[in-house]
Symmetry: C2
Subunit: 214 residues, 2 copies
Amino acid sequence: MDTTQRTDQQRSADRRRRELLEAADRVVLRDGPGASMNAIAAEAGITKPILYRHFGDKGGLYAALAKRHTDALLEALRAALDAPAERRERVESTLDTYLAAIEARPQVYRFLMHPAEGGQPGDPGFDVGKYSAPVLRRMGEELAEVIEERVDLGPGSQQLARVWGHGIVGMMHAAGDWWLGERPCSRAELVRSLADLLWGRLAAAGDRVGGPGF
Amino acid sequence: MDTTQRTDQQRSADRRRRELLEAADRVVLRDGPGASMNAIAAEAGITKPILYRHFGDKGGLYAALAKRHTDALLEALRAALDAPAERRERVESTLDTYLAAIEARPQVYRFLMHPAEGGQPGDPGFDVGKYSAPVLRRMGEELAEVIEERVDLGPGSQQLARVWGHGIVGMMHAAGDWWLGERPCSRAELVRSLADLLWGRLAAAGDRVGGPGF
DNA sequence: ACACTCCAGTTACCGCAAGTAACAGCTTAG
DNA sequence: CTAAGCTGTTACTTGCGGTAACTGGAGTGT
């Protein structure tokens, strides 16, 4: 008896929560990450305290929002990562998936990674520093697991895989961030360049001779 | 006439500026990056408006502070990068320099990269998103220059070097960040692992057979 | 039918930090 | 002696995050 009631209530609460998140999403994507709680509440057609009842504080709202997008991204990445293909191909397709995602929805990306970018001066925006790191961490751990699971690294493989997981994710992230800002080349070229880096082309390349200053 | 006067004034203004930056540094390192302008002013023995006269706004103060540390770090990295040694050795020593720096002064590091970490909830902290990216960008560009200058990459070398510069910096940064948080291994091991990654060990490793689920 | 309890929702407020205006003293030039 | 031009102050505004306390309506027990 109470259970069904509670379920009903919880259902409606969950629906509400989803609506609120979607409203927040819209506002954040429109106004940039500096969107105020008031603005988000207004977009949802309600007022601040309700947001606080649902999400505790601004961090909670942000975390929920970030989780949505992060989960979606991670799912896409997992698909590319787990494909039954040669390793280089998997690596390239994972890189490409990530870059395609940030290319397709740069607003979302900037919100997740560089939250305080669109606001007016003095606009603190979300305390995203606390949440953007977890996004990258999750990706790094995930990648580490896949590496450890599928690549034979000999002794100490677990630690090595984790280092590599986080390192590769960071490489992808930083290169993608730079690329998104400057667009110096096509996505495919970027993917190839990064894969080449991971494939040891740096080690294989020769020293340059007769450079300037020598 | 006016010039000498101006020079004098500018000199004293510069000294003042440096004092203020040092005070800000102390406060930020003590109270975390959520330090308020009031607190910084108090530490410097003055009041807010003076800070604003010198730095315009909080972002200006932060930028100046970040520049100090970034310049110092970049100088150290340049030394390692320009050393007359084998490439692998240079890479390892650069990685180690960076990691040693963030290990020695994690507060500074966290301030530069994850500013909103130490504050109370609701404490907006510096809008560091706007400044931490430039730090990494500068490192990436710098590294790209060195790569382009010293490594023979064939056609398209300039773009490739830039991709790699930003990618490697991102790898270093993300791995360092994770490592600083969890300390899963010694610095030397981390350096070795990352260098191994850059040296193509990922490509060279064999597929793992008989993993779980297969 | 009536009181009682929930609960979404509201208004009105607090605290606090960024940033600014207006004023006060000191030093120096004319 | 006065007029700039400093550095420094106090006291304020604005705007955000967050909360307390009230309001109105939907279901429920008697």
